[in-house]
């Protein structure tokens, strides 16, 4: 009979209960969208921030020691000690560390001087869009075109297998009066003619690169006479915001206890990723660009806090709305509830009946709200990040718990009213 009463109430009071279900659906859709975005925002914001540059620099070990002594930045270090190198063939190892999937992109650089229009110009060899096959069989596409996505490029990035295609910095191109498609001669640093080259693209980076010429790494190695060598590698990695443990580890990993060390090593701290690259490339020293890493962490934490607060606010509003609707529903049905009490129903049994009805209604609203929320999350993902938001399974139990808590909290005034309701008041008005 209990379920007959519930079924009767649900099926024959559709419009009244639909409003409660709709309110729950609104709250749940907001919570689902926000929670999914919140859990995914780390990756999304990280991805977004990765488009603004590398957060790790890999340089030869000997060169790094000098750089630390004289507080040089990696590019300056390389310029001062061009004889220190890394081997190009070792670079695939970067994608084989424990946190390989967090390595978004990386690009090597080899610098040399060439003569262009009678001027000495820095030529930078790099990977533009390199396809790599790892020893594990995995395939990876990486390179500068992905890491410098904010560059304003006219024309195209050069293909890595080109032997005569180059990209010119905007300032250099303007100085030499060259544009996309133009051919021009390049001479080596010693004045020896290297041949005619074609401008594939002109870029504006806003930095020193605007005065440089970028060519495929293989070409730069040939011109510099350094086959198979690179001077430094920029790495863009998805990282976890730094904390006290990460800072201590960055100073000296050996100072950590075994448990701390495991925690640190198995968390995507920038220092842990740097450490793991050094483990796999013993001749290299990896330096974190801490300003970038810390800014990323701060932005990420603030974004997540904002999402969390919006979720709490949305649920609080839903709870208030549910409270009003359930209370109104109980008031409207006070005669019926009084009658059940008059027929011998205890307060507990009537409360159980009404709460079951409300919870089923909320569950229906919650399920509808969950799927609507997934849709909203995709809309937010597309609008803000330009990509889909991954639906997190963790959100399902969280939302179920939230529906339960919000419904129970919202129903408290109605339950109180049920406890106080006396049959005489509603049946006879006394």
């Amino acid at each position: 009979m209990f379920w007959k009463i519930i079924f009767g109430a649900l099926t024959r009071q559709k419009s009244k209960l639909a409003l409660i279900a709709f309110t729950v659906a609104l709250g749940v859709s907001l919570a689902t969208a926000m929670l999914n975005v919140m859990f995914d925002v780390g990756d999304k914001v990280n991805q977004e921030l990765k488009t603004y540059g590398a957060n790790l620099n890999v340089v030869p070990k000997g060169l790094s020691i000098l750089g630390e002594m004289y507080a040089l930045d990696p590019a300056e270090e390389v310029a001062k000690r061009p004889e220190q190198h890394l081997r190009e063939e070792d670079l695939v190892k970067i994608k084989m560390i424990f946190w390989a999937y967090n390595i978004v992109d990386f690009a090597p650089y080899l610098e040399t001087k060439v003569m262009l229009g009678g001027q000495a110009v820095t030529m930078m060899g790099t990977w533009f869009d390199k396809h790599l096959t790892l020893p594990t069989g995995d395939e990876v596409d990486t390179g500068m075109a992905r890491m410098k996505s904010w560059w304003d490029v006219t024309g195209f990035f050069v293909r890595d297998d080109e032997t005569h295609g180059v990209m010119l910095g905007a300032a250099l191109a303007a100085r030499l009066n060259l544009g996309v498609g133009d051919s021009f001669p390049i001479a080596g640093g010693d004045g020896e003619a290297l041949g005619e080259f074609i401008v594939r693209g002109v870029f504006h980076s806003g930095g020193d690169e605007d005065n440089q010429i970028f060519v495929p790494l293989r070409l730069a190695q040939r011109i510099a006479g350094k086959p198979g060598l690179v001077q430094r590698v920029e790495v863009s990695a998805l990282t976890t915001p730094e904390n006290e443990l990460a800072r201590r580890a960055a100073q000296d990993p050996n100072s950590l206890s075994r448990l701390e060390w495991d925690t640190w090593y198995c968390t995507a701290y920038i220092s842990a990723i740097a450490y793991q690259i050094e483990e796999i490339m013993p001749d290299a020293r990896v330096k974190a660009v801490l300003q970038v890493a810390e800014s990323e962490g701060a932005i990420l934490q603030k974004t997540q806090l904002l999402m969390f607060l919006l979720t709490v606010l949305g649920l609080f509003c839903s709870s208030l709305a549910i409270s009003n609707l359930v209370t109104a529903n109980v008031m409207e049905r006070s005669t019926e509830i009084g009658l059940l009490k008059a027929l011998g129903a205890t307060t507990v049994s009537v409360t159980l009946l009404i709460m079951t009805e409300i919870l089923i209604t909320s569950l229906a609203g919650g399920i509808a709200g969950y799927f609507a929320g997934l849709g909203f999350a995709q809309i937010i993902g597309r609008a803000v990040f330009g990509s889909a938001v991954t639906a997190k399974m963790l959100v399902v139990p969280l939302v179920a718990l939230l529906v339960l808590l919000v419904t129970l909290a919202g129903s408290l005034p109605a339950v109180r009213m049920l406890l106080l309701l006396r049959p005489t008041e509603v049946l006879h008005g006394k």
């Binding site: 009463i5 009767g8 099926t11 005489t424 006394k430």
Partner: protein, 219 residues
């Protein structure tokens, strides 16, 4: 043997004395009508007899059990087990069928029995309307469902509050005939009414005035 005894009961709501020093008894199988103008205390007396309210002073003994010291939950149990309620406004659950409305009383009493509920509806002439919702029934039919619900648990006492107050003359006749039948079968009935014609069906008429028992008339 008395099924009901009210011993010097009073009910006071703040400055209002709704009932004052009422003494009344009802024998097993007896039918009494309670009459009086508005505000005379009829409904208050009804609520006290129906275990929906407690007197401010005095004792109520129902089927040999004193109700004075019982808690609200215990009074609910007494009401469920011993009293059948018939209301002026019918008070049927709007989203349950006639049959389900009868079964609700079974559910809160012990356990549901659809066949028995159908027999109760048959007794009030509504077996063919068992699957109808209250809004699909006339006022008289709704009141007959209400009576079937009151009878379903074989109560010691039937308490009817203005059972014909919302009915037209023909339906009033049908309902009063049902009460006559119940009385004939031995049911004890307390009926509150404004209508002397309805009250005349009872064996005794108890008249209340200003919360006091004014007189008892044998019909």
């Amino acid at each position: 043997m008395n099924i009901l005894e009210l011993l010097d009961i009073s009910k006071i709501y703040g400055p209002v004395k709704a009932l004052q020093n009422i003494d009344l008894s009802l024998e097993q199988g007896e039918w009494i009508a309670i009459m009086g103008p508005s505000g005379s205390g009829k409904t208050t007396m009804m609520n006290i007899i129906g275990c929906m309210d407690k007197p401010s002073s005095g004792s109520v003994i129902l089927d040999g059990e004193s109700l004075s010291r019982l808690s609200a939950e215990e009074l609910t149990g007494i009401r469920r087990d011993k009293i059948g309620l018939v209301f002026q406004q019918f008070h049927l659950v709007p989203y349950l069928t006639a049959l389900e409305n009868v079964m609700v009383a079974q559910y809160y009493h012990s356990m549901t029995d659809e066949k028995e509920a159908l027999r109760a509806l048959e007794r009030v002439g509504l077996r063919d309307r068992a699957k109808h919702l209250p809004r699909q029934l006339s006022g008289g039919e709704q009141q007959r469902v209400c009576i079937a619900r009151a009878l379903i648990n074989y109560p010691k006492l039937i308490l009817a509050d203005e059972p014909t107050g919302n009915l037209d003359e023909s339906n009033e006749g049908v309902v009063m005939e049902l009460f006559r039948q119940l009385h004939k079968e031995g049911s004890s009935i307390v009926m509150v009414t404004h209508d002397p014609g309805v009250a005349a069906h009872a064996e005794k008429t108890v008249v209340l005035e200003h919360g006091r028992l004014a007189r008892i008339t044998i019909n």
